[in-house]
Symmetry: C2
Subunit: 367 residues, 2 copies
Amino acid sequence: MALLSPSRRLRRTPFSDGVEAAGVKAYTIYNHMLLPTVFRSVQEDYHHLKSAVQIWDVSCERQVELRGPDAGRLMQMLTPRDLRKMQVGQCFYVPIVDETGGMLNDPVAVKVTEDRWWISIADSDLLYWVKAIAHGWRLDVLVDEPDISPLGIQGPKAEELMARVFGDSIKGVGFFRFGWFEFQGRDLLIARSGYSKQGGFEIYVEGSDIGMPLWNALMEAGKDLDVHAGCPNLIERIEGGLLSYGNDMTDDNTPHECGLGRFCDTQTAIGCIGRDALLRVAKEGPIQQVRAIAIDGDAVPACDRWWPILAKGKKVGQVTSAAWSPDFNTNVSIGMVRMTHWDADTAIQVQTPDGLRDAAVYEKFWI
Amino acid sequence: MALLSPSRRLRRTPFSDGVEAAGVKAYTIYNHMLLPTVFRSVQEDYHHLKSAVQIWDVSCERQVELRGPDAGRLMQMLTPRDLRKMQVGQCFYVPIVDETGGMLNDPVAVKVTEDRWWISIADSDLLYWVKAIAHGWRLDVLVDEPDISPLGIQGPKAEELMARVFGDSIKGVGFFRFGWFEFQGRDLLIARSGYSKQGGFEIYVEGSDIGMPLWNALMEAGKDLDVHAGCPNLIERIEGGLLSYGNDMTDDNTPHECGLGRFCDTQTAIGCIGRDALLRVAKEGPIQQVRAIAIDGDAVPACDRWWPILAKGKKVGQVTSAAWSPDFNTNVSIGMVRMTHWDADTAIQVQTPDGLRDAAVYEKFWI
C-alpha cells in the first residue's frame, strides 16, 4: 500500500484522536476527510464486526442541511424517490440524480422536522449541487454543511452497548427510523442504520466538542462486550451488496443500472430533476445492471481500477469491488453486467491484474 | 505517515503506470484521484525542481467543460473576475464564489474558443455547482468532465525539454497563454502555467490513450536534462505563496481574505453570483487575510490541521500550511491573520503540535 501525505485539506474528525489511539493502520479519503479502513487487519476486523460491536468514525458522511419553507420541495427535486409519505423520524435511502438521470450521490435523507432535512452523503460534494439548485430555482431555503459527524455503532452487540449509554428506550427505534437521546446534556439524533448488514446505529454527533467524550463513554461501557474501533469493512459490505459511490457507480450510471429502481417512483416523484430522463429508463429498463459475482481461485489483489468482465473474449461488463471472503470461501465482488449475461449462474470471466479468472453471476448477494 | 487503501473510487490516471515506475513514495487524494506527493524525498524533489525539470501527473486538475451559446455568460456568473476582455488563447486564474461570496474553488479558466471553456479545478466537485447553476438558470450550455488529464512540465529546464518534443515554437507561448501543438497526430492544448514558481507548462492531454506515450517521450527526450518524475512540492509552493484550496482557504473565506482581491472586479463583473455580498467586502475590506509567516526553531512537523496563531495569549489567526525551507533556513508557512496583527514584522506565536513557537508576519512570500 502507498503512503498518504497528511495535510489540513484531508480533514481530521472529532474522533481522530480516538482512532489513532486505537491503532488505525490505513485510511481512505472520503469527502475530503479521513476515513479509517483497517485497524487490526481487514480480515480480523471482519470477523470481529460479525461477532461483537465496533465503533466507527464515519464523520466523512457529511451532512447537507436544508432548512426553511422550501426544504421539502428542494429535497423532492433532488431524488426520484417519492417522499410524500415520509414522516418526521424516518430515514430514506435516496438516489440523487442530475438532469440526465445520472447518479450524483446515494445518501440517506433524514427528515428532522417538516422544514429541516439532513442529507447524509456518500463521496461527492453534493453540497455544491444542492446549493446551486436552491439558488437557480430561487428557493426559500438555507443549505449548509453543519458541524455534525456521524459515529457508527455496528455489530450484533450494538444494541446492548447503545442501551448501556443511552438507556433501554433506544431499543424501540425501528430500522431506518430515529429518535432523540441525551448525552452530557446534549440531545443527539440517533438512527438505526449503518453501512453493514450486522445491525446497529448511527449517532449524528452535533458539536465536535463532545466527539471524544462520547467515543470514550462508548469504549468504557463496552469493555466486556469486546468493543473495538472499526470501520466499514470491504469484505462484509461486498457480501451484503452495499454499493459504494465512486466504486460501484458513478454519474455515468442511472439508479436503475445500480439496482436501485425500487427507490425510483418516477411516475409520482413530481418535481424531481432528471425525471424525464428516468421515465424513459423506467419504461424500457436498463441494459446493464449491478450484480453479485463470485470470482474463482485464490484471493484477488486489491481492486483499484475496474476489471473487465469477458464472455467469449468480448467485454460484457466490469468488476468494481472485490475481496476474498473467509465465510463464503470465494472472492466476492460487485460488477456491472450487460443484460445478455446478467442472469444468475451465467459463466463469465474476469480479467484481474494477475490473470483471467472464471467467475459466475449470482442471483443475490451473500448476506 | 499512514497508509492509503487502494480502491477504484480513488481514481488512477493515464500516467499512473509511469508514476509507479518512477518510484512514487506517497500520495494525496485530490478530486477523488491519486496525486503524487513524494518521489525521492520532499527535500530532494524540491532541490531538483529548482534546478532541473520535472514531469508532474496533475490529472487531478480535472476539467469542467462549458460548451454552447451561453458558455461565456455562465463562466462570468461563476467568478467576480471581469472576463470581458479575455481572449481565446488566454488562461485566467479565477476565484469561484457562492452567493455569499464564499470560495468554492480557485481554478484556472481556459478560453478554448468563444463558446468553449475549460475550468481546470482545485479540490472540490465544482462540476456539481456549475451543472446545477446551468440547470437552475436554464442556460443553453453543456457542462461535462471530459477525458482531459493535465501533465505539468515544471522547472528551469522545462522550456528546453518542451521544445525538444513539441518544437521551438513552444517558446513563443506567453505566460498564462496557450497554443495547440501536435503529438502523434493529436492536437494538444499547451499552456505556460503550473503550480510552481520555477516556470513551465501544462499539457492538457485529451484522450487517456496517449498519456503514457507522451510521458515516455518526455522522459526519453529529457535524459540529459536530468528529467525526473515530480509533483507539486510543499516547500516550494509555500515559499512562492501558492495557495491550496482546502488547506489555506475554504468556503468560509472570501477571495479578499485569501489575498485574491485583485482578481475581483466586483463593480464590473455583471452577473456574477455572490457579487452583492462581495461589493460589501470590497468596500470595507476583509478583517483577516492570508499572510506569509516565518516560524522560528527547528523543522515543524506536518501541518495536518490548523495551528492557532496567538498574540499575548489571544487567538489572532491560524497557520494552514507549513514546511521547513532549506533555501531560506526557516519554517515557511501560510496563515490567515486578523487585521490587528497582519502588518509586516508583527511578532506572533504559533501553537504547533510540539509547542509554542515565536513567529513573524512577512511582507511578501519568499519567491
